[in-house]
Symmetry: C2
Subunit: 415 residues, 2 copies
């Protein structure tokens, strides 16, 4: 028996202690975890300095260093996030349905924890606390396999959380940090179908594809967000412009940013010039189809690859389409199943768009940037799923549970 | 591009035609499929004779021949099942939640089809029609890979269903029968992560393990049902006896049959002798622990393997346990996550049992044989899941859909 399997088995065993806590105890535990994190700030920052030194010595770039870096404000932010999760409604034990069958048995559907969740992620140490909080709130054990750049920070955060857990009689193994960061060890973790109920990879597309391609345990993930915004012929152009600017510019590195603008032919001459001006003023590079280039001077030509690109940057692909059906056809062909937006004043067109597309989130006259667990009212987000199973779109606490059947009778038999 | 990939792509394309049908049209389509099956009875029976002849020539046993065999009554049964599915409520388009966020956007959760479902099953031709009906009712395309013994019957049934589908403008590819029955072709089907949204294997444990171990597409399955019945100290022994006999004897080959009887020490002397007498009168072989053998003469000794056995036969493992906690510990150790039953007049004990066990279905004073989609009110059953994700326990139409987000605003932006 290897180390990873032993650790995972211990997590499964310890997950029962989490599952046995009632809602009040879990909320108190998460509050205690937040307090403990603040109390352990010095130790966590010291560990983080160690990670930062190693990262600098390894020549890691500034963007990555910034993601890795903790400071008192960021630790306060992590503690605040734990408190927010503490205050969310507990999905476990919720009765989603109850029915009395003709023979008198009462059939209830009740939410229960998934069991053991493995998170595979990259170098943001706040994910360690966030993911632990969400999994624990939903009654699960959690195995965290973060990036090697953040290992000291992750272990210091976990040690702090373990201190709080111990006060509630929850074994440390319920929140397990994988210390063996070799790929072989991750592969082994992903084969443990008898122990791990779900793996959630978060990070770059390369990491996610590696997990999805090698896991035998169930995986829920999204590779990328190629979000489309379609401006219909009967769009309110002021709304369209606001939604476009918010979608493209408010956080271009987010997976819910707009990557492709589709414009109805009939409104293109009116809308595209002002859109181009506003976007260029914000530093956005535009890559257009021939029809759009005939309307806006100096557009770079879009190539076929642009229709599938997740730029995560201030770049936008632009295409003029003949009509609503052509917009739908373009999206059906290039969708990442993440988020699509229509801007229209025509309710029938909106419904056609919603019905025709199979993406996880479809927006009518609202920004793609709302495609986020917090914005959509889930309270917090463990990830986004474009896996069309279990959970589709932003995943909150509920996605870390499953409904089962509880049946109560008075001795009824079938035959 | 191989044949399987081409077929699966065609199914995915055709699945859009199914998804575009409204509830009324889908119900009418399923009614038409039922009628067409009856109209094509002669052709289906002729194909079935061909399968039966081949099976006999291959020396296949009587039990399998019976499962393979169709006759007018069975075809009527299949048509009736299609009509039942036609009459079920349509899960697609159901709004499960709606919330107005503080910024005024309206966030709805709406059920949508999964997309393309692959069913892998063995030699019951009725599964071909049942699975097709359920998948289509839930708006999905379906790829059916049945056993080679039933291939002529399956193709004849599908040809009949295609006739009805054509009248509704639904391409035949929406219901695809895999004609290439080599294992390699099945393996290829199970790798099509960009086309197949879910694979559901049904059949023997060997087939299911093969699918689960080789699939890259998501798989929902159950391997076996080692269902426990625990008779608490404060059980009503008359109820306990009824539930035990129904659970063990009403259909021993079903996965929801009782395989292990656990009896509280305090009631064992009163209950076990009458239970043993009643079961033996029905031809049940009992295999007991030492304590049970001290109470009932001539019990065969149970070995460790008996606690994990799914007999699917008139055999029952019997164990006396010290108390409720010992019963729970036994089940936690040997559960197949399928169905567990407690017989007790003590409500607190019942709740302890329900809370401690993580099985898909937990029954209080009700027969394990109710662990079935029809009995639990799902209307029909596509399978049973002990995969703790998406759906846990008997799966009906709803399990063939997923909730997504539809957001309607008036131009709201995030920043």
């Amino acid at each position: 028996m290897t180390d990873i399997r032993t650790q995972a088995l211990a997590c499964r065993e310890a997950s029962r202690a989490i599952a046995a806590l009632d809602s009040t105890a879990k909320a108190a535990l998460l509050e205690a975890m937040a307090e403990q994190l603040l109390a352990d700030e010095a130790a966590i920052l010291a560990a983080n300095v160690q990670d930062l030194d190693n990262a600098r010595a390894a020549g890691i770039g500034n963007a990555m260093l910034d993601r890795l870096m903790l400071n008192p404000a960021r630790i306060t932010g992590i503690a605040d996030a734990l408190r927010e999760v503490a205050g969310l409604p507990d999905p476990v034990g919720q009765k989603t349905r109850s029915e009395v069958r003709p023979n008198g048995i009462v059939v209830e559907r009740v939410r229960v924890p998934l069991g053991v969740i493995a998170m595979i992620y990259e170098a943001r140490p706040n994910v360690t606390a966030d993911a632990a909080a969400l999994c624990i709130k939903a009654g699960n054990g959690v195995i965290l396999r973060g990036g090697k750049e953040a290992i000291a920070s992750n272990q210091a955060i976990a040690a702090s959380l373990h201190t709080a857990m111990a006060r509630f009689g929850v074994p440390a193994a319920a929140l397990t940090i994988v210390a063996d960061l070799r790929r072989e060890a991750m592969l082994e973790l992903l084969q443990l179908t008898d122990i791990v109920d779900l793996a959630i990879p978060r990070g770059g597309e390369g990491l996610i594809r590696f997990v999805a391609e090698h896991a035998r345990v169930p995986v829920i993930k999204h590779y990328k967000g190629v979000c489309h915004l379609f401006v219909d012929a009967v769009a309110d152009t002021a709304k369209a412009l606001d939604l476009l600017i918010d979608g493209k510019c408010s956080r271009p590195s987010a997976c819910n940013a707009i990557e492709t603008l589709l414009v109805h032919h009939d409104i293109a001459a009116a809308f595209l010039p002002q859109a181009a001006e506003a976007l260029r003023a914000r530093g956005v590079e535009l890559r257009g189809c021939p029809a759009s280039r005939a309307i806006v001077a100096d557009l770079l030509p879009a190539t076929e690859a642009d229709w599938d690109a997740e730029y995560l940057d201030l770049i936008l692909a632009v295409r003029v389409v003949d009509d609503l059906q052509a917009a739908i056809a373009h999206i059906q062909c290039h969708t990442s199943d993440h988020t699509e937006v229509i801007v229209t004043e025509d309710a029938a067109n909106a419904e056609t768009f919603v019905a025709a597309l199979r993406s996880a989130v479809v927006m009518v006259n609202a920004s793609s940037r709302f495609s986020d667990g917090g914005q959509l009212g889930l309270g917090a987000e463990i990830g986004i799923s474009t896996t069309r199973l279990h959970s589709y779109g932003p995943m909150g606490l509920e996605a870390l549970t499953v409904e089962r059947f509880v049946v109560r009778g008075e001795g009824q038999v079938r035959t």
